[in-house]
């Protein structure tokens, strides 16, 4: 959600007006401090992120169920949440209903082939999504080079990491999984190896020089 608190408003007013560049210069420490705790979502667009109900859906419930089951084996749950918990299926559904809509026909065709192949291997009584995990993994091992599986894989990973407003990465679970903190700005040290950096040591024969601060 978009925290439209005074800090954020102050920051957005400052960056939203080129004529205020001088004001920014004068007030930068305060602005920076104000923006630091700002939720990352504040910079995710000038428009409020769409709520769950604004997301589009094009897959049928049955299709959703199978695709979600595949996604859940691509990035399984467990100690840390996986694709299912992060809502990757909502991203996939939204994407195929809108900005990746061109992929929908081949995606559906691929899903049909996937289901047929699964039925041929394990019978038509129960779908892939109802199978035990070990059986799902065994079957996916036989189809993981197909364009359909590659498409589900690509969309699943995008759904983990793209902004929550696209449907996936629910509660930032995808970012949490890969170790990304949700923030708009940072200051050094950034990581383990730069925290004790002693400074740049000039090479023999060189004379690094800087501009006069005046």
């Amino acid at each position: 959600m978009d925290h439209d608190n005074p800090s954020r408003r102050q920051f957005m007013v400052a960056v939203g007006n080129l004529a205020s560049a001088g004001w920014i210069a004068l007030n930068w420490p305060d602005i920076a401090q104000a923006a630091q705790p700002m939720n990352h979502h504040a910079m995710h667009g000038s428009h409020a992120a769409p709520s769950g109900s604004a997301l589009k859906r094009i897959l049928t419930p049955a299709e959703e169920k199978e695709v979600e089951a595949i996604a859940n084996q691509i990035v399984p749950g467990g100690k840390n949440p996986g694709a299912r918990e992060a809502g990757a299926i909502d991203f996939i559904n939204n994407a195929l209903a809108s900005f990746f809509g061109g992929q929908l026909p081949s995606f559906r065709e691929g899903l049909l082939d996937f289901n047929k192949a699964y039925s041929a291997a394990y019978g038509a009584e129960k779908p892939f999504s109802a199978a035990p995990a070990a059986q799902q993994i065994d079957f996916l091992g036989t189809v993981d080079k197909t364009p359909f599986f590659q498409a589900v894989r690509r969309l699943t990973v995008l759904g983990l990491i793209a902004l929550p407003k696209y449907g996936g990465n629910r509660n930032n679970l995808g970012w949490t999984l890969i170790g990304v903190e949700d923030n708009h700005m940072w200051a050094p040290p950034f990581g383990y190896y730069d925290q004790d950096y002693a400074g740049f040591e000039p090479y023999p024969g060189t004379k690094p020089y800087t501009a006069d601060p005046a």
Partner: protein, 549 residues
């Protein structure tokens, strides 16, 4: 700021086509010199609050770049193939927004070295390539490199690299703070006796020219900078051009043909406005700064009586000699988190291997840097031996913050068959014939890229990496550094523009962008494009005032 408005029927001194790295400078310099200027831009004008931290939008959905659905291109490797549109993407990518590609660049600002301008003489002919000298030298361009650093804003540490070309002034700002990737890159390279140094970046490290320092958000390449710390034309040159009261920035204006009269002079530009209505802006002279793909496309689409093969194309060189900057590198994993998603993308570079060396057995040179990107591309591919799905893949995803890239950036040789021309059938959303791209790497470019991969592996190994993934060097099928397609030269039979960026064939038509470059440099062309723009603008203004246009 309220921009000056000109009527299309009013004959302005200059129309500048393209508002990017070169176009912004051209507009500022010409308007400051007293000329009336209309600056045309295909894309919209966005304010700082309209630039988002949305990787999907900018990396996958053509948020501010040319969109393959509306601006399609076709591609082939050799002239005997039939060019076809690529699956869901264009081979040549550039920004369509006020500020052009300076809006979304990574902001690596390397000067060319003295050797870059004279490699034709140094190396002699190379089979299959057209490696020639520039008509200007480093010494002639040096004052303008300095002007870029001080007027546009570049941070760095002068004299830190033993391989730096000479310079007349230091950078106006100190370098950006180092990241973990920079520390590790420096550690590994120094162990090997190499000389990494703080990266020169067109990003404010301190308050400079009324713009704040970098917020270290980590999203530079591909993104507009909403805090205005990145020295993009939209934050630097364009407001200063408008402040003269003589420059109008006309966004959502797609120039598709240059108007010509019977005497062979340019009369202005035909363009579609934001409602796709055709307009014509009269001008005394036209300066095209539309990038190395759109500039030749515009000239070729402007063919008319007396210029049947495209404007300014008596040499046949318009669109030819396309270069990208080939390179090779490696990914490396370390024991502790680097958190490369934080901070400006590059903080250390190294130029020990900048010059080509005959001992290697091929032409090619380049630089290396330690760099990072945003998280969205993570996991779309995996190293050999790593599971592509399942529990093993999940563990790989979880290792994101432990990785960095050691990237090599290098030369691409100019070749006559590598070109941008007009596809015989494909049209864009405005009905304008689309560009066709033909490109195949020169064998030396591939050898050099593979050689760079080996060096990157050595550096990361010396840095103590626990896992190294050498980059794969494949055939180029597109690029973002769009260079050489209207090359500069003294001979009208072999080049398109003279050393002042005036076309040999049309007296009042000038071109200045990556297309002017004669050789590719070593991977970071924007500062050179901007230096050329400052230099060309100075001469163009002199010519105009002397009534020599």
């Amino acid at each position: 700021m309220v921009s000056k408005m000109y009527k299309t029927s009013e004959t302005v001194d200059f129309v500048v086509v393209g508002s990017g790295a070169a176009g912004g400078i051209m507009a500022r310099e010409l308007s400051r010199a007293g000329h009336s200027v209309v600056l045309m831009e295909q894309g919209p004008r966005l304010g700082p609050d309209q630039f988002e931290h949305d990787e999907l939008k900018y990396r996958n959905l053509s948020g501010i770049t040319n969109n393959p659905a509306t601006n399609p291109q076709s591609f082939r490797h050799t002239p005997d193939e039939t060019a076809k549109p690529m699956d869901g993407r264009n081979p040549l990518t550039y920004a369509r927004v006020v500020g052009g590609s300076s809006t979304h660049f990574n902001a690596n600002f390397w000067r060319l070295h003295e050797i870059d301008f004279i490699e034709g003489s140094r190396w002699g002919p190379i089979e299959g390539a057209s490696l020639v000298d520039w008509p200007i030298t480093y010494a002639e361009l040096e004052p303008y490199y300095t002007k870029v650093e001080w007027e546009v804003g570049v941070s760095g540490l002068a004299g830190a690299s033993p391989f730096d070309p000479w310079r007349s002034k230091p950078y106006p700002m100190p370098p950006l703070p180092v990241k973990s990737s920079g520390v590790l890159f420096e550690r590994g390279a120094r162990k090997l006796g190499l000389h990494p140094f703080p990266a020169p970046m067109a990003i404010n490290s301190v308050f400079y020219k009324n713009r704040p320092p970098c917020a270290q958000c980590g999203l530079c390449g591909g993104f507009g900078c909403e805090v205005m710390a990145k020295s993009s034309s939209v934050w630097t040159m364009i407001p200063e051009a408008e402040a003269t009261g003589r420059c109008e920035v006309r966004s959502l204006s797609y120039v598709f043909r240059i108007g010509m009269d019977k005497t062979g002079r340019a009369t202005g530009v035909h363009y579609f406005d934001g409602k796709k209505v055709e307009q014509f802006q009269k001008a005394r002279a036209v300066v095209v700064c539309a990038n190395g793909s759109e500039t030749p496309k515009l000239l070729l689409n402007s063919a008319t009586n007396g210029f049947e093969h495209g404007l300014a194309n008596s040499s046949g060189a318009v669109g030819r000699y396309l270069m990208f900057n080939k390179g090779g590198g490696a990914m490396a994993r370390f024991e502790h988190p680097l958190n490369e998603y934080k901070g400006a993308n590059v903080t250390r570079v190294m130029h020990d291997f900048y010059d080509s060396d005959p001992k290697r057995g091929f032409y090619g040179g380049g630089g290396f840097d330690a760099r990072s990107g945003g998280p969205l591309t993570w996991g779309q591919s995996v190293p050999k031996g790593t599971a592509a799905w399942g529990q093993g893949f999940k563990e790989y995803l979880e290792s994101y913050t432990y990785w960095m890239q050691c990237a090599g950036h290098g030369t691409s040789l100019a070749q006559e068959n590598n070109r941008v021309d007009i596809d015989p059938e494909l049209k864009d959303a405005w009905g304008i014939p689309a560009m066709r791209v033909t490109y195949k790497d020169h064998p030396d470019d591939v050898k050099h890229a593979k050689w760079q991969v080996e060096r990157a592996v050595e550096i990361m190994d010396a840095a103590g990496a626990s896992q190294i993934v050498p980059g794969e060097v494949g055939e180029a099928n597109g690029g973002v550094h769009l260079l050489g397609t209207c090359r500069m030269g003294n001979d009208p039979r072999t080049s398109v523009v003279d050393k002042y960026n005036r076309t040999h064939d049309v007296k009042n038509l000038f071109l200045c962008d990556g297309s002017s470059m004669v050789t590719s440099g070593r991977g970071q062309p924007t500062q050179t494009i901007e230096a050329l723009a400052f230099r060309a603008a100075e001469y163009i203004s002199k010519f105009a005032k002397a009534n020599e246009i």
